[in-house]
C-alpha cells in the first residue's frame, strides 16, 4: 500500500514538472513573436481624447497616428499627412494626407476622418465636450476638408504650438466608426491606423495588440505585444528576472542601480537618455499667509538643498532642474536656482518679519516621490525655524484639495510634456483651465505677455528664449520651486536587441518606436 502511494506521488510530481517546464525554452532567433511588457498603471478609459493614465497613452500610441510625427531631434516629419503648408499670416494650415492609408477596419483614411477627429477634440460635435488637450490646438476658426486628401485648419489668431498639437500622441487621429452617434467610444473596439491593431483589453489585467501588416510605414518586427498590468515595481522586476515579461517600465532606482546595463546577463535595467518621466516641485500658495510675501518664498527656496532629495529619494538617479524638462531636452533651460544657503534664508525670513520662523502645513500624498519630498522639506524648513506639519490625505482627497487650491505648501509632480504650452497654458496663464498649479492661482502681466508672445512665434529657438525668460522670473518669484526630474527607466530581457530609444525624451514615443524595432539577438 505504502509503495503504491509513493509511486503515485512520484508519478504526479514528474508529470507536473514536465507540464510546468513547458514555460522555459530556448529563445528563438530573429523576429519576436510575442512581447509581454510589464506596466504599472491601470486603464482608466479607452477614449484617447479624454482622461487616460500616461501608460495608457503609451499603449494607444501603437494603435494610433498623429497627422505629423517627430524625429529624434524634435523636427516635424510626415505622419498621416505627407506634406503641410502654413500660410504667410500663420493662420491657415493645409495638410495633404497620404493616399492609401488604411484604418484597421480596412477602410481608407480620408480627410473627413481628420475633420471629425479635430472637431471632436474641439468639442464641436457629440459628445460636445472639449478634449483634454484641446488647448494644444489654439483658437480654431474652422476645419475644412476641401477634397478627399486635404484638410485645412484656419485659426483666429496665430498659434505656434499648433503643429505640436496635431503631432502629439494625445491628439491622435480617431476613426468615426469607432464612436456612437452620441460620441461615445464603442465597447471593446479601438480602431486606428497605427502599426498595431487592438485585440483585447481586460481592465486591470492586460492590453493586447497585434501587428498591422498593412502599416503604411512598414511592418513592425514584433508580432504581438501584451501590456500586462503589474502595479508593484519589485514584482515587475521579479517577473522580468523570471522571464514572464520581456520589457518593463519604471523600476525602482535602487533596482536600476543593482541590475544596471550588463548585456551578458539574462536581463538588465537601463535609462532612456535625456528623458523625463516626472518633474517634482513645491508649490507655495500665495493666497495663504505668509506666502504672499516674496521674501518668505525666497527664504524657503534658499533653505532647500536639492542634492538631498536626489541622493536620498532617487538614489542619485535624477537630475536637478529649475524647469520641468531634464537637461538634454530641447526645452530645458539652465536657469540657476536660488542657491542653498541657510544663513541667507534666515536673513530673508527676518526681513519679512519672521525672525523666529512660523508654523505651516505641507500637503502631500503617497504617490510616486511626493510624500518623501515632503519629509525632507519638513526637515530642511526646521533648520530655518519653520515648523511644518505634514498633511497626507489619501489620493482622492488630495486630488480634490489640489483642485480647489486647499493647500499651503503643496508637493506636486508633472509628467513629460512635448510643448511648454501644454504646461504653462493650462497652469500659469491668466484664465487658464486649471489655475491652482502656480501659487494657488498666481498670475503676473509680465509672464502673461511673454507666454502670449511665445505662442505666436513659429520659430522654435525664439520661443525657447521667451520661455527661458519666464523660467527666470519663476525662479526669482519662488512661487513654484522646481526640484529635480526623474528619467525613464526600463528593464529588458537580455536576449532582445535594437531597443532604439528616441533621444528627445518622450517616453511614450520612445517606447513605441523601440518596441517596433525589437528583435532577438
Amino acid at each position: 500500500m505504502k509503495k503504491t502511494f509513493f509511486a503515485f506521488v512520484v508519478i504526479i510530481l514528474m508529470g507536473s514538472a514536465a507540464a510546468f517546464a513547458g514555460g522555459t525554452s530556448e529563445a528563438p532567433k530573429g523576429a519576436v513573436d510575442q512581447l509581454v511588457v510589464g506596466v504599472a498603471e491601470a486603464w482608466t478609459a479607452t477614449d484617447v481624447q479624454y482622461w487616460l493614465a500616461v501608460e495608457c497613452f503609451q499603449q494607444l500610441g501603437l494603435v494610433y497616428n498623429g497627422l505629423l510625427d517627430y524625429d529624434a531631434t524634435m523636427q516635424f516629419v510626415p505622419g498621416l499627412a505627407e506634406k503641410w503648408e502654413i500660410s504667410k499670416d500663420n493662420l491657415v494650415y493645409t495638410f495633404s494626407l497620404r493616399k492609401g492609408v488604411k484604418w484597421h477596419n480596412g477602410r481608407e483614411l480620408v480627410s473627413s476622418d481628420v475633420k471629425f477627429s479635430l472637431e471632436r477634440m474641439l468639442g464641436w460635435i457629440p459628445p460636445k465636450k472639449e478634449g483634454l488637450w484641446r488647448a494644444m490646438l489654439g483658437d480654431v476658426k474652422s476645419v475644412d476638408a476641401p477634397d478627399k486628401y486635404t484638410v485645412k485648419v484656419t485659426l483666429n489668431k496665430p498659434y505656434a504650438p499648433f503643429l505640436h498639437g496635431v503631432t502629439s500622441s494625445w491628439n491622435a487621429v480617431i476613426c468615426p466608426e469607432n464612436f456612437t452617434a452620441e460620441g461615445r467610444i464603442k465597447d471593446n473596439e479601438i480602431i486606428g491606423t497605427g502599426p498595431y491593431k487592438f485585440v483585447k483589453l481586460v481592465m486591470d489585467d492586460y492590453f493586447k495588440v497585434e501587428r498591422n501588416d498593412e502599416y503604411f510605414a512598414g511592418k513592425a518586427l514584433v508580432k504581438t505585444v501584451t501590456f500586462k498590468q503589474i502595479p508593484d515595481a519589485t514584482v515587475r522586476v521579479n517577473a522580468l528576472k523570471a522571464g514572464d515579461i520581456q520589457l518593463m517600465l519604471n523600476p525602482k532606482p535602487e533596482d536600476f542601480l543593482k541590475y544596471k546595463e550588463s548585456p551578458e546577463k539574462k536581463y538588465f535595467l537601463g535609462e532612456i537618455p535625456k528623458s523625463t518621466v516626472w518633474a517634482y516641485s513645491f508649490n507655495l500658495n500665495v493666497h495663504k499667509e505668509p506666502f504672499g510675501n516674496k521674501k518668505v518664498r525666497q527664504a524657503i527656496a534658499h533653505a532647500i538643498d536639492v542634492n538631498e532629495y536626489i541622493s536620498i529619494i532617487a538614489s542619485g538617479v535624477a537630475k536637478e532642474s529649475t524647469n520641468i524638462w531634464a537637461d538634454g531636452n530641447f526645452w530645458h533651460s539652465d536657469v540657476p536656482r536660488l542657491n542653498y544657503d541657510v544663513t541667507v534664508a534666515k536673513k530673508l525670513l527676518a526681513e519679512a518679519g519672521y525672525p523666529n520662523g512660523f508654523e505651516t502645513e505641507i500637503h502631500t500624498v503617497d504617490f510616486v516621490n511626493l510624500s518623501k519630498n515632503a519629509e525632507i522639506l519638513q526637515s530642511q524648513l526646521g533648520k530655518i525655524g519653520i515648523k511644518a506639519e505634514i498633511k497626507k490625505p489619501d489620493f482622492a482627497q488630495w486630488a480634490k484639495e489640489e483642485g480647489n487650491s486647499e493647500f499651503i505648501i503643496h508637493t506636486q509632480c508633472w509628467n513629460y510634456t512635448d510643448d511648454p504650452t501644454q504646461h504653462y497654458g493650462i497652469s500659469l496663464e491668466s484664465g487658464c483651465v486649471y489655475p491652482s498649479w502656480y501659487g494657488g492661482g498666481w498670475v503676473t502681466p509680465e509672464i502673461d505677455k511673454l507666454l502670449a508672445q511665445a505662442k505666436s512665434i513659429p520659430d522654435m529657438k525664439k520661443r525657447k528664449q521667451l520661455y527661458e525668460q519666464v523660467n527666470k522670473i519663476l525662479v526669482d518669484e519662488a512661487v513654484v520651486i522646481q526640484l529635480y526630474t526623474t528619467p525613464a527607466l526600463y528593464g529588458i530581457a537580455g536576449n532582445l536587441k535594437n531597443m532604439e530609444w528616441n533621444v528627445r525624451g518622450d517616453f511614450i514615443h520612445s517606447l513605441n518606436k523601440g518596441i517596433m524595432s525589437l528583435s532577438y539577438k
Binding site: A17, A19, F20, A21, G22, G23, T24, G38, A42, W43, T44, A45, W51, K129, E130, L132, D187, V202, M203, D204, D205, K228, Q229, I230, P231, D232, V235, N238, A239, K241, A242, G243, D244, I245, P393, D394, F395, A396, Q397, A399, K400, E402, G403, I426, V433, Y434, W437
Partner: protein, 314 residues
C-alpha cells in the same frame, strides 16, 4: 426542515440590509471625490458637474442610497465611475480568477491539513507530531505576502518552473491555467492548511479519547479503520465548518496575493476601486462578498441540521 430553512433565509435579510447601509455610509463619509480623480487635475468645473449629475452624485445621500438599493434588488449594481462598465459585469469577469484561487488553495489546504493532522494525532508526542506542529505554527506565523515572495524566488526565479505573475483562463490554455494558478494557490493555501492542521489534530485527539473509540479498539478493529472510519468522520465536522468559512472569505478576494501575483481578481478590483472612490464598484463588491458569506453560513447551518437534527434555530 422546510420551516427551518425558511426561517434561516429570512434571518439573512436584515444582515444584508445592514451591510448595504453601512458600506454606503462609510464609503461616502471617507473624504475624496471620485469625479476629481476621473477627470484628473485638468478637469473643468463643467465636466465635473456633468459627471456628478450622470452618476447621481449631486443628489442627497438618502436619495442616492434608495436609487442604488432599488437597482441592486433588480440585479443592477450600477456603472463603474472609472471604467464606465456595469459593476455586475466587472465582478463576474473577476470571479473565475478569485474562485480558482479559492478552490485550489482550499483543495491544497484540505489535502495537507487532513492527512498531516490525522497522522500527527495518531502519532501524538512523536517526532512526526512535533515536526507537523512546528510547520503548522510556521505556516500560521508567516504572512501571506512573504510566503508568496518566497515561492516566487524558489519556483520562478531559481528553478524557472512556474511563472511568477499572471493568469490565463482554463479555456484559453488548460496547461497555462494550472501553471499560473499553482503558486498563488500554494501561497494562500499554506496558511489555511496550517490553521486546519491544528484544528484537525486537536479534534482528532479529542475524538480518539472517546469511549466508543476505546470500545472499537477493544473489539480488535484495525487501527487504520478506527482512525479513518470512526474517529475522522466525527472530528471532521469543525474542520469542514472552518474550511467553509475560509473558503467564503477567500472568495471575497485576497488583495495581497492578487497584488503579488498580478491576478485580476475581486481583491484587486476592490483595492483599486477604493483608492479611486469608485463608489458603485466598492458597494457592489462589498454587497457581493456579504452575500457569499451569508450564503455559505446558511449552507453550513443547513448541513449541520442535516448531520445533526438536534440543532434548533433559536
Amino acid at each position: 426542515m422546510g420551516r427551518y430553512i425558511f426561517k434561516r433565509i429570512l434571518s439573512t435579510i436584515p444582515v444584508l440590509f445592514l451591510v448595504s447601509v453601512l458600506v454606503f455610509l462609510f464609503l461616502h463619509l471617507i473624504p475624496g471625490d471620485p469625479i476629481r480623480i476621473l477627470v484628473g487635475v485638468r478637469g473643468t468645473p463643467e465636466q465635473i458637474a456633468q459627471l456628478k449629475q450622470q452618476f447621481h452624485l449631486d443628489k442627497p445621500l438618502p436619495v442616492q442610497y434608495i436609487l442604488w438599493i432599488r437597482n441592486a434588488l433588480r440585479g443592477d449594481l450600477g456603472i463603474s465611475i472609472r471604467s464606465n462598465v456595469p459593476v455586475t459585469k466587472l465582478i463576474l469577469s473577476r470571479m473565475p480568477v478569485t474562485a480558482s484561487l479559492a478552490t485550489f488553495s482550499m483543495l491544497f489546504a484540505l489535502i495537507i491539513s487532513v492527512s498531516a493532522g490525522v497522522v500527527a494525532s495518531a502519532k501524538r508526542n512523536t517526532v512526526f507530531d512535533f515536526i507537523v506542529m512546528v510547520f503548522a505554527n510556521l505556516g500560521v506565523s508567516i504572512p501571506q505576502f512573504l510566503m508568496g515572495i518566497l515561492l516566487i524566488l524558489f519556483f520562478a526565479l531559481t528553478l524557472s518552473l512556474l511563472p511568477s505573475i499572471g493568469y490565463t483562463s482554463f479555456f484559453e490554455s488548460p496547461v497555462g491555467y494550472f501553471r499560473y494558478i499553482t503558486l498563488p494557490s500554494l501561497a494562500l493555501g499554506v496558511s489555511i492548511a496550517a490553521s486546519l492542521t491544528r484544528v484537525t489534530r486537536s479534534h482528532m485527539i479529542e475524538v480518539l479519547g472517546k469511549d466508543y473509540i476505546k470500545t472499537a479498539r477493544s473489539k480488535g478493529v484495525r487501527e487504520s479503520k478506527v482512525i479513518m472510519k470512526h474517529a475522522l468522520k466525527n472530528a471532521l465536522l469543525p474542520v469542514v465548518t472552518l474550511a467553509g468559512m475560509f473558503y467564503a472569505s477567500t472568495l471575497g478576494g485576497t488583495i495581497i496575493i492578487e497584488e503579488i501575483f498580478a491576478l485580476p481578481g475581486i481583491g484587486r478590483l476592490a483595492l483599486q476601486s477604493i483608492s479611486n472612490r469608485d463608489y458603485p464598484v466598492v458597494q457592489g463588491v462589498v454587497l457581493f462578498v456579504a452575500v457569499i458569506n451569508v450564503s455559505f453560513n446558511l449552507v453550513i447551518d443547513i448541513l449541520y441540521r442535516f448531520l445533526n437534527p438536534k440543532i434548533e434555530l433559536k
